[in-house]
Symmetry: C2
């Protein structure tokens, strides 16, 4: 499987995250979210409050997790456009973990983000701080994806069950779905019924199972990315150069580059079936070059003057071209001046099995998948 | 509460239902369904098959249920228009009972219909035959209602939890809702997600609780009604006269009468939000009299020439005027020649508490509730 991908040579087994780490991570998850996962503003504010009140965020390596420990991937489901306005009551995830423990007859040893992207990358840290348990340095998608079955655990044959859905009113739902596709279908409907967002715990399993399948080291990667951008900004260096250089030092997400620099001249975005769906059209400065990016919560495909330059599962994220702040899809606005950054994903997200679940065809995109570094000559 | 309402003086504590009983009951539940609960054709065919294969349907009095026994009201949720075409796989209810037993750590002693109306009145008999457990001679609504919180257990303060929703694919969902209204809202959405119908077990509880609140004797009433009509038909007597006379002998549902005799001249019916919603307009034979009946799965209000002659919770059911076969709302057709029969419901369905939950205002109907026997001078 994905042993020893080792982009983080300096890894410690245990690390307590600081406020600076968390702020750096917010930028990193917004980047790795490929435009999805929701803007991490509210999760970040809650994390800052938790740290200020003396709570600790203990990050541990996947290798440090006992094989028989119960581990719970956590995340919010729904349209980011909704999550911007519908705030959690703070008990949703805790209530879900309690229900999981009741079903399994076992304490949850640790949590991790089901997707490293955006707000969902950060929110499990809050659960860990709240419960006094560790967060594991890994995630289930290696980025963000719009649908719950687009997770490595599904790709490699694990069941989502039991699925625990909770909302801010206090409703608790346990779903045993016949297939992981049914899980997505039913929880999606529930997320809409619950006002457009709800907390979901799915694909929980043993430490052993997580070591087999989880995408390792993505929390520390997100922190490293944010740190590189922050240090570049404060030193007056180009944050995009710092970002790309930081990625190069990762053996796992190593091919990154700026795909376009321009402004939004057309934007079409709707909330459909619980998703933020649409496309953004950018035009270069003083040029007739056009970049069109289609998204379903996440940016899925980018075409420059009609030629495809990247598709899902590779990562495509817009940044403010001055501040290098990532802009998630629900925050795109007409006239914004942006850089579009592309990033290769790890090999386990590019296997035939993986592409069948979250390659271009899973989103109805015609193009066959081709690695971003090949298309753009970054090799 | 509702002790000893005694319309069935000849009640035995235990009775094994025959094929004839079940067929009689199908007519009775279609009548008590007030046009809702779905046409019992498919449930009846399955019951006939179960009896033919040697299974037994054991009907017991509520008084014979031990106080500490676990009792499960059962029923299908969804638009009857859908249930007509989407057939069950036969395992939905059994899987739901197994899940309930797993949660409660107790065997289910007996089942009963959550509503006595239509197909839902009959389907729990099939579960009882399948599992070899009794069906209790009672129900939770004393008729059929379109929404799950319109049940006496909710009126008198019981919780719907745990709610167990199952579908023909094998999905199992356990809901712990914060309120009974939330239960309806969420299970309704699930019923739509599950293709328009699903099996629901809610308001399960102890024998003691059921004795406090259930509407007693409604299964044997349904059988008695069907039997009266059948005997009248075979003797060439007026089945409507036999029906009304049978009801008179019940001290509980004693005021019945024919409200209109005519044909459908206009029919408006849609499947909206998981319900069959609409209205039927009838015109008298050789007269200008008009009867308008509005329905939401069940017939809710009847107005003759603009004057209200009955409202929910009193029962309003269309019958074929020749055969005296009840016609449920999804089977109404333009041009049908029908009699509209009205029936008073028991006092526990007419309290202020009960009317707040399923009186006319709960359906957005302007008229204040007035007992059908008072409006029509049947006293």
């Amino acid at each position: 499987m994905q042993e020893n991908h080792g982009y983080r040579a300096e890894a410690e087994a245990v690390r307590y995250l600081t406020l600076e780490d968390v702020r750096d991570m917010a930028l990193g998850t917004a980047f790795l979210g490929s435009g999805g996962g929701g803007a991490p503003v509210s999760a970040l504010l809650q994390l800052e409050a938790a740290l200020a009140s003396g709570r600790q965020i203990k990050l541990i390596d996947l290798a440090a997790v006992p094989d028989d420990a119960l581990i719970a991937p956590c995340g919010w489901m729904g349209a980011p456009t909704v999550s911007e306005e519908k705030l959690p009551n703070g008990r949703e995830a805790i209530r879900g973990l309690e229900k999981l423990e009741e079903i399994k007859g076992q304490r949850v040893f640790a949590v991790f983000p089901v997707e490293i992207g955006g707000s969902n990358g950060l929110s499990p840290l809050l659960i860990a701080a709240e419960r006094g348990i560790p967060v594991v340095d890994c995630d289930g998608m290696g980025r963000a994806f719009p649908e719950s079955q687009m997770v490595v655990f599904n790709v490699y044959g694990c069941s989502a069950n039991p699925v625990i859905v909770t909302d801010e009113k206090g409703n608790v739902i346990v779903l045993e779905a016949v297939t992981n596709a049914e899980e997505e279908r039913i929880t999606r409907v529930l997320s809409i019924a619950m006002g457009g967002s709800c907390h979901v715990i799915d694909y929980s399993g043993s430490g052993y199972q997580m070591k087999q399948h989880a995408v390792r080291g993505t929390i520390s990667l997100a922190i490293a990315v944010g740190r590189a951008v922050r240090l570049a900004r404060s030193a007056g260096r180009d944050p995009f150069a710092a970002l790309i250089s930081c990625l190069r030092s990762s053996s796992y997400y190593s091919h990154g580059g700026v795909l376009f620099d321009g402004k939004i001249v057309d934007l079409d975005r709707n909330t459909e079936g619980g998703f933020a769906v649409g496309r953004a059209v950018l035009e270069g400065f003083g040029s007739t070059e056009r970049m069109v990016v289609e998204f379903q919560n996440e940016n899925l495909v980018a075409r420059r003057n009609g030629t495809t330059v990247a598709t899902v599962p590779d990562i495509l994220t817009f940044f403010d071209r001055e501040t290098a702040e990532p802009i998630t899809t629900e925050r795109l606005r007409y006239g914004q001046r942006l850089k579009l950054v592309g990033l290769s994903v790890p090999p386990l997200l590019r296997t035939a099995q993986a592409l069948a679940v979250f390659g271009p065809q899973a989103f109805g995109i015609a193009e066959q998948y081709q690695p971003i570094e090949e298309i753009n000559g970054w090799l």
